[in-house]
């Protein structure tokens, strides 16, 4: 299974690397646009020092993890994010008649390499934040070790949300507007401490759209903001269970699928 995935993905990368210049410019632009967003946040915190007790480096930890995670998902699963076209235009039928799982096929069809820029931006923000925290005299060993776990788990969480949204699209036949609600708005929200938000939003981010487990919850512990010792363990656990549920929903949806017959 994995060997097959590697083969197909390698082919996809090879085909995209025919256009090296395009890859470099698109990745750079994506990264630059995301950096600008962070600069505005820095401007605010430069003036007002902190937001509910989180200084720029601490917010930067949240921001970097969230940015890198969402970029990871967008890098590896552009076809999941763009799944609406498969249902609307009946392209899914071609995938269903092949001897491999349609999900694997979707994941190997395409990589959105421009998202590497977002990944670099996220990791850069993390590095800056970590060095800033170190300069403040915090011990950053735990944070450094935990960051890759958080980014990977976050990537899986976003992927699960995307997959669940695609699963629902089997019934609703549209997904683009839904994604704003399930991915884009939460991705923006998870750049900052979730404790800021109204209660109903908090609940949402701890349950149906579980982005709080990716960065906010473990950072409460690792940055010494009164989190319990086991919070960081919840990060991969939440990612695994989100994936399990999303996969279930997707499977139910695909069984329910009726082709448009075109």
């Amino acid at each position: 299974m994995f060997a097959l995935y590697r083969k197909l993905i390698a082919a996809s990368i090879r085909s995209q690397m025919q256009y090296k210049i395009n890859f470099v410019t698109s990745a750079a632009t994506t990264g630059m646009i995301m950096v600008l967003d962070f600069i505005i946040l820095s401007a605010i915190l430069y003036r007002f020092h902190d937001v509910v007790g989180w200084n720029i480096y601490e917010v930067g930890m949240l921001y970097g993890i969230s940015s890198a995670s969402v970029s990871l998902y967008r890098l590896f699963a552009p076809e999941i994010n763009d799944f609406e076209k498969y249902i609307v235009q009946g392209e899914l039928d071609q995938l269903l008649i092949r001897p491999v799982s349609p999900l694997l096929l979707l994941l190997t069809r395409n990589l959105d390499l421009s998202r590497v820029g977002g990944l670099v931006q996220g990791v850069s923000v993390l590095v800056i934040s970590l060095s800033g925290l170190a300069a403040e005299g915090q011990s950053i060993m735990g944070l450094v070790l935990f960051s890759p776990v958080a980014i990977l788990s976050g990537g899986v969480i976003y992927f699960s949300i995307g997959l669940a949204t695609a699963g629902v699209a089997f019934w609703t036949h549209q997904m683009k507007d839904m994604l704003t609600f399930t991915i884009y708005a939460p991705a923006n929200a998870s750049n900052y401490p979730i404790g800021l938000y109204p209660n109903w939003l908090k609940w949402l981010f701890f349950s149906a759209i579980p982005i709080a487990y990716m960065n906010y919850l473990p950072m409460l512990t690792l940055l010494g903001k009164g989190g319990e010792w086991f919070y960081p363990i919840l990060t991969p656990v939440a990612a695994a269970s989100a994936f399990y549920f999303a996969r279930m929903l997707w499977n139910v949806g695909i069984r329910h699928y009726h082709s448009t017959g075109s």
Binding site: T25, S26, T29, M32, I33, L36, D37, I39, I40, L41, A43, I44, L45, Y46, R47, F48, D50, V51, V52, Q174, K176, D177, M178, T180, F181, Y184, A185, P186, N188, A189, Y192, P193, L196, Y197, P198, L201
Partner: protein, 259 residues
């Protein structure tokens, strides 16, 4: 009036998407709520210079999110690049209406739809969160509408210029993204531009991006500087001239290539 007819038609075409836009409006309001929450967290318990206390900032962000749907969330390149790619542009250019006004009318119809089905619902939803702001003078409404229309016009021209650049390039995607970042970075979407540090805070009020977001919002809040409308009108004029010139250049290029 032929342009009014184009506007009406374009408005009606957009009515078909009402339902999916309801979901989108809720999501868009969440963006607003996030910014409001950040500012509440930043400002609570601090001494703030100028008019920006928690309440005013809440109003600012709420109005901002509504205004964005009129002035900033336009069609990439006003769809000029699509017509260029498909060749339809040559048919549009020989129509007995001026190409620039034709494209702007199309877009404006869509924006009127946005005003009714995006700006108003989002404004109401966010108003529930931060309270409703009513200006103290009746005249403010008039100035606000004027400022909003100027902002919309400036926005449409900038997007049009991005779109018409496709006559000379193959991709407008990056031009569009860069334009969008400039608007979000310097237009006052997340932070009122007079709060920006250093040089940026000094320059930003005179750029066309602030004409699109910052001045309309501040006009409604009755906090806009007196020269705000001048900056808007100045850019509207300057960009009109540029757009007309570039349209003529594009038309000539079309003639050279033989339509």
């Amino acid at each position: 009036m032929v342009y009014w007819r184009i506007i009406r038609k374009s408005y009606r075409r957009n009515l078909q998407y009402r339902l999916s836009h309801v979901v989108n409006n809720v999501a868009s309001s969440i963006f607003g709520l996030v910014f409001i929450a950040i500012w509440t967290g930043v400002l609570s318990g601090k001494q703030v210079y100028g008019p920006y206390d928690v309440k005013t900032m809440g109003y600012y962000i709420a109005i901002c999110q509504s205004v964005l749907w009129m002035t900033t969330f336009l069609s990439p390149g006003l769809n000029v690049q699509i017509a260029v790619r498909s060749g339809a542009v040559s048919l549009d250019m020989i129509k007995p209406v001026h190409y620039l006004w034709y494209m702007l009318s199309q877009e404006f119809g869509r924006l009127l739809y946005n005003a009714c089905y995006r700006s108003v619902p989002i404004g109401l939803l966010l108003g529930l969160a931060v309270g409703f702001f009513f200006p103290s003078h009746l005249f403010t409404y008039f100035w606000f509408i004027l400022s909003l229309l100027l902002g919309t016009y400036v926005g449409m021209l900038l997007f049009y210029l991005a779109g018409i650049s496709s006559f000379w390039t193959t991709e407008i995607r990056w031009v569009h993204l860069i334009l969008l970042s400039l608007i979000f970075g310097l237009g006052g979407q997340m932070i009122p531009i007079d709060l920006m540090p250093g040089m940026i805070g000094k320059v930003a009020p005179y750029l066309p991006f602030s004409a699109m977001i910052y001045y309309p919002v501040m006009t409604l809040l009755e906090l806009a500087p007196p020269y705000g409308m001048l900056v808007q009108a100045g850019w509207a004029l300057a960009l009109t001239v540029v757009a007309l010139l570039v349209t003529n250049m594009a038309r000539r290029k079309l003639e050279i290539q033989g339509g």
